[in-house]
Amino acid sequence: MYKILLKQDLVPNIHLFKVAAPAVAKKAQPGQFVVIRIDEKGERIPLTIADWDEGEGSVTIVFMEVGTTTHKLALLQTGDFITDFIGPLGLPTHIDEFGTVVCVAGGFAVATIMPIARAMRAKGNQVISIMGARNKELLFWEEELRRVSDQLIVTTDDGSYARKGLVTEPLKELLEGDGKVDRVIAIGPSIMMKFCSKTTEPFGVKTVVSLNPIMVDGTGMCGCCRVSVGGETKFACVDGPDFDGHQVDWDLLFARQRIYLDEEKCSFEQWQSQSGILK
């Protein structure tokens, strides 16, 4: 059992948990993830590690309410327990001295990109971060990301805050501008990662994305997480989750993410009716 040391509601449907997991905290690196299972009947889902504190023995995760599991998770409070918390899994993000690195975060992935931006900067890179959300209500950690970046650009789809538009627009401007961009890290919804990759492709700038296919074990034993990269099948949980965005077969990823749409709907409806939560 893993204790939730702190719960924070970042925005109405995005939450942060600081979880007591000293062994995981000792080993965690930017870009890695954990697999969690809430309770005895729960499914195993992957969540990216947003932060860790070896001294405190804690690992921070940030998640958005989408299906049954994340809604159930959102009901837990400080002091509650998560049954299983397994990690750190996956290969860490490749951190090196590249020069100028643009970190693009869509939606709640601002939490995931934080440790990467921080590590890139600590390595001596100039870090330009772009964060985007649908609207002002869904934005969080602007100041936190600014602190670990040399420059920060914020966008909202509806223009309710900062620059109106998608993250790909400032990304394109940076690529077209005078300064050289040596590497792009794009993390967020799959569709956003795809379009970031499409944006950078003509410029030939290496673009690393963090894929989020459905997973079960997260250790390479089931193949549920298979993705196609450069025409080769890879298991995202052990060969990734980071891959070259220009090589990813995005359509396959989108299709495989939809495998259980019907079942997810059924599960969610049943959970809602049982728990009396009707939205």
Partner: protein, 465 residues
């Protein structure tokens, strides 16, 4: 000499029509009378050839004699002396190629049903004895610590033997449950999970510490275990990496590795979705590719989930099917259709990326290959299409490279198995032993247990040396 009784007591089983719709155990187990009658058939021959056929050398004539004399606690004691997991072995061991093959009555085609009797004793113990009463006396502590990586039959056996010898033992298991393939692979209807859990609990009650959710190679490396407190490590991480066909269309939705399908169904209990949160696609027409036990288990799970038609697609003929005869018969009785001498060429999908068909070749058998089985050859121009909406690939597994790739100085073969001495389980890396599927590739529960036992003996010798 009394007359030989050549009538094996049949195993009562659920009716095929009923059992193909539920996940309850198929074989129901002997009654006390049946067990008595079967035990009475044993001629207690002095050769004890059955024990020689047992990879862990259980005193088979001894425990059978105890059943005969009605001394069940003695039967339990004799059985558990060599085998910590009798309820499991009695259910899933291939006795027909081991103890029952070497039984003196095998020549008359009527070997004693040793596996069924073993199961009877184990089930009797669970129902009638406090587990504490069968615990061996506490050994004197040796002051040595051993880490066992993986909690399948190899790891559980090594851990149980080592703790009984006075060492302090911790098992590290990657999954959230201990038991390995016994929990995530072999289905409930063949091996009920509460039986596995009871036997895992027994090993824990001996004093073994079990750390779940611990992926060695990620959370801690093997070298870190050796540097921090552990005097020896036993690797029993199995062969958990699924093989695929590498044919076009294999990543379509609806195509599973057997590992994924069985993990969802057995470990995550998807057959009770949505009560349990993990879903699995229930196909209408399901093709399972492969002919081993894993393929039979997958097919029978798919049927129980509610598929209309389930096919086993295998490239050789019936005689070459690697699955246990009994499991093939069970599958056939339940209505699984065997498409033999058939091999997939590619998977066909619709616009939503769902598998809808499987293009296959007809095959014929040529000369024997290295494995001694006749080589399957494609019949040119024989392609035909099978309609399917779920495909399960059960072609076998190889060891997961996670540990070997994060450890200095372990030797692996080109199949990814770890090189270890057959007699002792010793690897080329000092203080490290290995056994079970990680060394042999996918094999059997009992061979993994045998390897765990031999390694425990060797580790004990090293620690005391």
């Amino acid at each position: 000499m009394p007359k030989l009784n050549l009538n094996r007591e049949p195993m009562p089983r659920q009716d095929p029509k009923i059992r193909s719709k539920n996940f309850n155990e198929v074989a129901l187990g002997y009654s006390a009378e049946q067990a008595q009658a079967e035990a009475n058939r044993c001629i207690q021959c002095p050769k004890r050839s059955c024990t020689e056929g047992c990879p862990v050398e259980v005193d088979i004539p001894g425990f059978i004699n105890a059943i005969r004399e009605g001394d069940m606690p003695e039967a339990v004691k004799l059985l558990k002396d060599k085998n910590s997991l009798p309820g499991i072995c009695g259910r899933v061991c291939p006795q027909e190629t081991q103890c029952e093959a070497t039984c003196s009555l095998a020549k008359k085609d009527a070997p004693i049903a040793i596996g069924r009797l073993e199961r009877f004793v184990a089930d009797w113990e669970r129902a009638n004895m406090q587990s504490a009463s069968s615990l061996p006396a506490q050994p004197a502590p040796s002051g040595k610590q051993v880490a066992v990586v993986g909690s399948g039959p190899a790891g559980l056996t090594a851990a149980a033997d080592l703790v009984k010898l006075g060492h302090s033992v911790t098992i590290f298991e990657a999954l959230h449950v201990a038991g390995g393939v016994l929990m995530y692979g072999i289905p409930e209807f063949r091996l009920p999970k509460d039986i596995v859990q009871a036997e895992v609990d027994y090993v824990a009650s001996l004093g073994v510490k079990v750390e779940l959710d611990s992926v060695i190679g990620k959370l801690v490396t093997l070298d870190e275990l050796l540097n921090n407190d552990y005097h020896a490590v036993f690797l029993g991480t199995g062969a958990g990496l699924p093989m695929f066909l590498n044919i076009p269309g294999e990543n379509l939705n609806g195509i599973y590795s057997a590992n994924e399908f069985l993990t969802r169904v057995n470990l995550m209990k998807a057959y009770r979705f949505p009560e349990y949160d993990t879903p699995v696609k229930v196909g209408r027409k399901v093709a399972v590719i492969g002919g081993g036990n894993v393929a039979m288990d997958s097919a029978r799970c798919a049927l129980r989930l509610g598929a209309d038609e389930v096919y086993i697609v295998y490239r050789r003929s019936e005689v070459e099917l690697p699955a246990r005869r009994e499991e093939v018969e069970n599958a056939q009785e339940e209505g699984i259709e065997f498409k033999l001498l058939t091999n997939p060429k590619r998977m066909l999908g619709n616009e939503q990326n769902w598998v809808v068909g499987m293009e296959c070749y007809e095959m014929e058998l040529g000369e024997p290959d290295d494995s001694g089985r006749r080589r399957p050859i494609v019949k040119e121009g024989s392609e035909f299409i099978i309609d399917v909406d779920v495909v399960i690939v059960a072609l076998g597994t190889t060891p997961n490279p996670l540990i070997a790739s994060t450890t200095d100085g372990l030797e692996t073969t080109r199949w990814g198995t770890v090189v270890a001495d057959e007699e002792t389980g010793k690897t080329v890396k000092s203080q490290v032993w290995a056994g079970g599927d990680i060394v042999t590739g996918a094999a059997t529960v009992i061979s993994a247990m045998g390897a765990g036992k031999r390694a425990a003996a060797s580790i004990d010798e090293y620690l005391r040396g």
